[in-house]
Symmetry: C2
Subunit: 197 residues, 2 copies
Amino acid sequence: MADPATLSPLKLALLGLLSQRPRSGYDLLKVFSQTAMGGFSSSPGAIYPALKWLVRAGHIAGAVENRDTLRPRRVYRLIDAGTEALKASLRMPVTRDDVMRNADSVLLRFAFAGEVLGRGEAVRILEAYADEIESYLPELKAQLAALPKSAGPYGWHALKHGIDMYRADTRWARKVANELKEQFTARQARRYASTIQ
Amino acid sequence: MADPATLSPLKLALLGLLSQRPRSGYDLLKVFSQTAMGGFSSSPGAIYPALKWLVRAGHIAGAVENRDTLRPRRVYRLIDAGTEALKASLRMPVTRDDVMRNADSVLLRFAFAGEVLGRGEAVRILEAYADEIESYLPELKAQLAALPKSAGPYGWHALKHGIDMYRADTRWARKVANELKEQFTARQARRYASTIQ
DNA sequence: AGCGTCATGTAATGTGTTACATGATTCG
DNA sequence: CGAATCATGTAACACATTACATGACGCT
């Protein structure tokens, strides 16, 4: 990580989940194994060490619950420095590299940015994502044109599908960004209307 | 890799590219940096060691070109054991894990399977991919239903989009699989027609 | 003389997976 | 009483990224 504000996708996911509410390692494990977030990890072998790292980095704090009983659980919560780290990570620009290799992470960042930084920042991520894809699409189209269907029909189909999926991504991102903005202005309009009543 | 037939995505990509024609490390590097296959690697730091590994594993052989000149290049070509390893890897079943984390690899396998194993195997991969997604979709829909839009609207949008993209994936896979099968039967029909003329 | 491309590699580091290890509690 | 789940972790390994290192060739 050249940029110190960049967290690995797993650590970002952990901070995001802990920003919603305190959770134990096992709680987090279940989130990954039982929901669509499973793409960001599996297995205790990744999660427990990552939590340890986050504690040492001063981003989260662990407190032991049921200390006296025979089955204690260590519950982690986000502390100030962790909130800042999460925000900084969510504000990182959307890059070509993100689009090519980490599209899932961008979606994750969108979801948490909405919760942690508010609608405006979520909209900004969606628009940056769409922009970045749109600047990439011409290159992909050129590659498709350079690969005649008659030659490698299988590669051609795969590339074509990739392009179509990117197009669907941008359409979705623009649509949701506009919906979020309209809700905002509609709310402003209502508030304005109520003041002049 | 529990299963010995499983190659890392990068090694699979390298074997696939070398199955098309012999290439040097630098040639391969350019493919990744200049085409949509860039998702499978970047940087010499991954490619050269992987090539070395493939040589040691007996999958490819390197021959030095321009040995006498001052700028020699090492050209790698697939040898028998490598062809077998590639075929075995392409024939691996499409798993839930592939769908959740390695959708790109499945597309890569489809493309190379078509070239290396023929149309039938390519169709099989597409259908297995669609099947696997369709068995996963109900779970995702249940998750979406359990997450009311009013609660976490950002996460809701992200999950909804994930579901829609999976649906687009299956539609595409079924369509292309059917196209490939129809071409096949059309060709058989023509061949049959020519025999009875 | 300097820049861009050709061409190949290594070392340190980060990060995740697989497999292993341990033990308590709850439910049937 | 056995199986599933709760709950936490470690060790070996695989794998890729980043940054570094080297040097020739061709063009301006």
